[in-house]
Amino acid sequence: MTAAAASQGAARGRPAGHHWTPRRIAARTGFYVLIAIFVIVSLFPFYWIVITSLKSQADLNQGTTSLLPGHIDWGSYSFDLTQTSATGLNFGRSLLNSVIVALSTTAVTVVVSVLAGYGLARTRMRFKGATLGFILLASFFPIIAMAGPLFLAFRNLGLLNNYLALIISYLVYTVPIATWFLANFFTQLPRQLEEAATVDGATRLQAIRRVILPVAVPGIFTVTILSFIFAWNDFLFALSFMETPDKYTAPYAIVAIGHTQYQTFYNRIDAAVVMITLPVALLVIFAQRRIISGLTAGALK
C-alpha cells in the first residue's frame, strides 16, 4: 500500500455535534487513558536509562530512592567517549565503527537494489516470480545458521575483524526489503519517462540515471533509512566476526562496556545505550511516515 492511501484512510474521524452523555464522556476518558498507558509504557524505559546514565556511582550504590534524576552527573558519557579500556574498548570508536559499517551497507544496498528493482519492474526478463520468491526466501534465512559457516569463510579469506565481513553479511538484512520496495515503487512510475529518454538516443542505463533516479528519490530515501536502521541494529554478526574491542560495533560494545571483574557500572552501560538509541529515535521522529510505508509496502495487496 502507498503512503497516499494511508493518509487518506487516516482522515476517518468522529462526526462533530454529538451530545456529551455521561456514557460518552466515560468512553472518551477510557480511550485517552488507554492511549496514555501505551505512550508511558513505550517511553518510560527510555526515561529510566537516561536518569540512570546521569547518576554517579555513589548514587547508584544507594539503590533506587526516587523516580527523579537527582544530582545530574555527565561523567559516564565522558568516560564512555574518552576512556579506552585495557582491552582496547572505546565507545566513541565503537560508534564510529557502527557509522562506517551502517553507511557502507546502506550505499551498497541502494545501488544493488535500485538495479534489481528496476530490472524486475521494467524489463521483460523471465523468472520474475522465482527471483522475487528467492529474494524473499533469503530474508527468512536464520541468521545464526549463516554466522557459523560465514565465520569460517571469512577466516579463510582473512576478513575476520574487518568491516567488509559485516557489510557483506548485513546485505541479507537490507537487500531483500529494499529490492521489494523499489520494484514495487518503479512499477508505479509512468512508462513514458524512459521511452522519451531512449527516443532521444540515451542508452537504457543513461535513461535510468538521468530520468528514473531523479523521480525515484523519495523511494531511495525510504530504502536508505530502513537499511541504515537494520545495519545499525545488528548484534549477532558483530558478535561472531569482530574479534578485537577496537573493531566492535556499538551494539556489541554495550555488552562489554561498564563491566569489570568486580562490578557492573549501569550508568556507563546506560550512557552507551542512550548514545546508540539517539540516532534511530531521531530517524523515527523525522521520517516516521517513510519508515512505515517502507515496512508495509506490498505487504497488504
Binding site: G119, I143, A281, I291
Partner: protein, 292 residues
C-alpha cells in the same frame, strides 16, 4: 529487441541475486555437509564421516529437544500476546484524536532501537538494586518486591517476554494500522444503520477484512520469535542453568563456544527447515506475483 531487454533485466538483478546466494546458499550447503560429519574445528582432529549421527544426537541428547520445546512455547506466547496488544494499539491509533502523529511516533520508537538496547533497558528495569520494577513494588507495598527477576526460570522468561513484546508489538501495530486504513469507512456506516454494535462491527467486519494484514504480521513475528537470540544472550545468557536457552542460543554455543560444526550444522539445518515452513505458509497467504 525482446532478447536484449531480457538480458538487460538479468544483468540488473544479477548483483542482488548473487550476493544473496553467496551469503545464504553457501552457509546452507556448508551446514548440510558439516551436519553429516564429526567436525570440531579447533580440536585439530581431522573431520570424519558421521552419517546421520549428529541428527540422532540432537534428538536424543538433553539439550536440543528441551530447547526446541522452550523456543516453541516462547514463540506461541509472545506472538499471541504481541498480536492482541498490537491489535488494540492499531485500533486505537486508527481513530482521529489530537496529537495522534506524536503518539504514533512515541509508540513506534521502541521498534527502531537495536534488540540489544531493548534487552539492556529491561535488564536495567528489572535490576534488584537499580531497577524500576522492584522500586515501585516496594513503594506500593506490593508482593514480589525482592524478586531477583533474571535469577529464576519463570520470572526470567517473563522479563524476556516483556523486552521482546516492548520492542516488537509496535511492528504488529504498524502493519495492522496500515491494514485498517485501507478498509473503507462507509461499510461501518452501513453496519451502524443496520443496528450493529461496535463490537459486532469489529467481529464481523474489521477482523475478516484485516485478516491478510494479521497473517503477514503474525508470520513475520513467528519467524523472528522462533529465532530469538539477542535478548536471551544479553539478559540471561540462557540461564539460570539452561532454562532460557533457546535454539539460536544453543546453535551459537555449538559454533562459537564448542566449535562443534557437525552438531551446530545439524541444529542450523533444523532451523532452516522451520524457517522454510514458515516461508511456505507466508507465500500461500501472500502471492508473490501480485507485487508486479
Amino acid at each position: 529487441m525482446l532478447a536484449r531487454d531480457r538480458r538487460f533485466g538479468y544483468a540488473l538483478v544479477a548483483a542482488a541475486v548473487i550476493v544473496l546466494l553467496v551469503i545464504t546458499a553457501y552457509p546452507l550447503f556448508y551446514n548440510a555437509w558439516n551436519s553429516l560429519r564429526h567436525d570440531v574445528v579447533t580440536s585439530g582432529i581431522p573431520a570424519t564421516w558421521a552419517g546421520l549421527s549428529n541428527y540422532k544426537e540432537i534428538f536424543t541428547d538433553n539439550l536440543f529437544v528441551p530447547s526446541l520445546v522452550r523456543t516453541i512455547g516462547f514463540t506461541v506466547v509472545s506472538v499471541a500476546v504481541e498480536t492482541v496488544i498490537g491489535l488494540g494499539l492499531a485500533v486505537a491509533l486508527n481513530r482521529a484524536f489530537p496529537g495522534r502523529g506524536l503518539v504514533r511516533a512515541a509508540v513506534f520508537i521502541p521498534w527502531a532501537v537495536p534488540t540489544v538496547v531493548s534487552a539492556q533497558l529491561w535488564k536495567n528495569m528489572f535490576d534488584p538494586q537499580n531497577g524500576f520494577v522492584n522500586y515501585i513494588l516496594t513503594e506500593l507495598h506490593l508482593p514480589l518486591a525482592h524478586t531477583t527477576w533474571l535469577g529464576q526460570t519463570w520470572t526470567a522468561w517473563g522479563a524476556i517476554l516483556v523486552a521482546d513484546a516492548w520492542r516488537n508489538t509496535p511492528f504488529i501495530a504498524i502493519v495492522l494500522l496500515a491494514g485498517l486504513q485501507v478498509i473503507p469507512g462507509d461499510i461501518y456506516e452501513a453496519a451502524r444503520i443496520d443496528g450493529a454494535s461496535a463490537w459486532q462491527a469489529f467481529r464481523r467486519l474489521t477482523l475478516p477484512l484485516l485478516k491478510p494484514a494479521l497473517m503477514v504480521a503474525m508470520i513475520f513475528r513467528t519467524l523472528q520469535s522462533f529465532l530469538i537470540f539477542d535478548v536471551v544472550y544479553n539478559m540471561t545468557a540462557g540461564g539460570p542453568g539452561t532454562s532460557t536457552s533457546v535454539l539460536s542460543y544453543l546453535n551459537y554455543q555449538a559454533f562459537f563456544v564448542n566449535f562443534d560444526y557437525g552438531y551446530g550444522g545439524a541444529i542450523s539445518i533444523a532451523l532452516v527447515v522451520v524457517a522454510l515452513l514458515i516461508a511456505a505458509v507466508y507465500t500461500r497467504v501472500f502471492r508473490v506475483e501480485q507485487v508486479l
